[in-house]
Symmetry: C2
């Protein structure tokens, strides 16, 4: 809005920062509405996304890892998993090797349903990115990576929210 898309002047750092901030705020709203639509909350939606992502990579997700990724306390994570389990989106399964651990699995039925949840957004993204060629995608990917890393670096300087001592 403030920027003229086809203007010749290159976006300044401030322009990009602002765009990024707009995007993250919108993402917040998205998670919020998404949750309202599916009986979840922002955190639940984020958690589900992380669990599904882990499942897709073939790795099991554990409550403690989830807590760390979400920046949530262990107790809050337990409550979170309780909620997700109550509606059948995840299942607890005690790990065979180490019986203290709990592996969070996604039931077959729920897995497909879960994917369906994220498809509309994926499709909208794909459609909006149609005009981007290989080189441009490369640029965008690099941008997203370094920006994420920058945020991580800055926030890592501040003491982590919970007891979570040193994490490297």
């Amino acid at each position: 809005m403030t920027r003229d898309t086809e203007g010749e002047a290159a976006p300044t750092d401030r322009d990009l920062t602002r765009l990024l901030q707009t995007l993250t705020v919108e993402s917040d709203r998205y998670a919020e509405r998404f949750g309202a639509r599916h009986g979840l909350h922002r955190t639940d939606a984020n958690a589900l996304a992380l669990i599904l992502a882990a499942a897709r990579r073939g790795e099991p997700m554990s409550p403690s890892v989830l807590a760390r990724e979400l920046g949530l306390s262990p107790s809050a994570t337990t409550a979170l998993i309780d909620r997700l389990e109550a509606v059948g989106h995840v299942e607890r399964e005690r790990s065979a090797g180490d019986r203290r651990r709990v592996a969070l699995t996604v039931p077959e039925a729920g897995l497909e349903e879960g994917r369906q949840m994220f498809i509309p957004l994926a499709q909208a993204f794909a459609a909006s990115w149609e005009g981007f060629g290989a080189a441009e995608r490369e640029v965008v990917a690099r941008f997203l990576e370094v920006s994420t890393e920058a945020m991580r670096a800055v926030s890592a300087e501040w003491e982590p929210p919970h007891g979570a001592q040193r994490r490297r």
Copy 2:
């Protein structure tokens, strides 16, 4: 991590979606830690950012607009402003023209402090974007804009969380 940065293969839609999701989760964490650092919460930080952005544009911010932007109920917004006002980050000022309206202003002192809050991130971003040329920035800006719009479009299809009837 899953992607090879200098690989010749162009990032697929899924790659980009994943990167975007990683970024937004990281942004969530950032807001969380940022809040913990400054005695605010995620929503408060987002709200402060929006108020400062409006102030920078010279426009006044009102509770109702803020509520809409954040996807928050009016009552929650009042409580939010109460919190921000209590720590001196914003001030309420009834609009002269229409005395129902409340203009949210940022006290001179708090304004500079507020800016200081966001500077570290802005600097980290700027540093991480040094290698991006004009054309690349143009690409990135376009990407961020269309992606934000895509999210907005998808979530707009779902009924808004609150009473917020038809908007647009």
